[in-house]
Symmetry: C2
Subunit: 214 residues, 2 copies
């Protein structure tokens, strides 16, 4: 039962990631090493790797000899992220339609069953299912690289989840249609539907873009 990794870098990475995603730093804020180090009660050494991890996910930006700064996301970046997601989730769905098992289908269906026919959908709860649904598609695809790549896009998107929200009444049927395509093993259709689904969200984003800030 290996638990204690003794890997402070990773621990720091997770904590800082959380803090950044919950907007505990101002956009563009500088992460002073000494400050962060004393904050976590460690030396500055494990920070280097942690910062590098965060930079890889585009959550911070490093300028040599000047430090690391919390990235401020703009709408253009968000659109870029959405486009990538459209493409990657699309092929994930295509392959998922071939690989998916009965059990996985049942599980995916269970995510949305409680919302079907409901007038008053609990939005945070629905979002939870929404996210799990999309994650599962990528997982079921079996493409390890996609799961890895998605990390990058997901973070930026998640931060703005509120701003780019479409009503569940609109997205629920789309989710169910995707699910049906997966069930029928129709990869072509599954890809098409996922891409349309993502693209519609992107359109919403573009409309609401003026309201977005970090």
């Amino acid at each position: 039962m290996e638990i204690q990794h003794q890997d402070l870098s990773y621990e720091i990475y997770k904590r800082l990631k959380n803090m950044i995603l919950s907007n505990e730093f101002e956009a563009g804020a500088k992460l002073k090493q000494e400050h962060i180090a004393t904050m976590f009660g460690v030396s500055r050494m494990p920070l280097h790797r942690a910062f590098q991890m965060l930079e890889n996910e585009m959550l911070i930006e490093g300028v040599p000899r000047h430090g690391y700064f919390v990235t401020k996301v703009d709408v253009d970046q968000l659109i870029d992220a959405f486009e990538c997601r459209e493409a990657l989730e699309g092929i994930a769905a295509r392959r998922a339609a071939q690989n998916i098992t009965k059990d996985e289908l049942v599980y995916l269906k269970s995510l949305f069953e409680k919302f079907i026919g409901s007038d008053e959908i609990n939005v945070p709860e629905y979002l939870e299912s929404d996210q799990e649904f999309h994650n599962m598609i990528m997982k079921v695809s079996g493409n390890k690289l996609i799961i890895r790549l998605e990390i990058l896009g997901n973070n930026t998107i998640r931060t703005f989840r509120g701003g780019l929200l479409r009503p569940p009444q609109e997205t629920l049927p789309e989710h169910l249609a995707i699910l049906a395509a997966l069930k029928n093993g129709d990869g072509e259709l599954a890809e098409k539907l996922v891409r349309e689904h993502t693209r519609k969200s992107m359109e919403t984003l573009k409309r609401n873009s003026k309201a977005i800030s970090r």
Copy 2:
């Protein structure tokens, strides 16, 4: 005129990356910190960040408390990488068709002009153009995330370039067709052609897969 970055991590990263991509380490070989450090005449400190960068590009794998090991790529991973590339380059082409300038079109054409009508195509030279062509499409798309994401897939693919090669006589017309679609501003078609192009390479890969090792 800022030149001296004084960033050993990055320098080490680049050097190690080169060494790994040119197979100077055995697959699965352990990168001992002390060894690498003395090899470059530095301390072990700047290695941590360098290793993290390499791990992020999936060139090495880190196991806490045990060290970093050169990743051995298998065919499944390569196929995963190709699928991602198919998707990402596809949308890149779609957007490139809208953004591309006259000068960029001229440049892209110049890459292949010398090969048109030629019986005996110099393969290494052609591969150079091939790679530049694909990089340009992503660059012209203006999607910064794609350029960043592609790093991951490209490395694994590049290593095996020999094994998955299609004859230039076969790919040249495809490249020219993509170019024509870009010229006509037909994003839909450009995406379709790029995806077919990549998918064909993937088929070749699957056929030759038994011959592949690292």
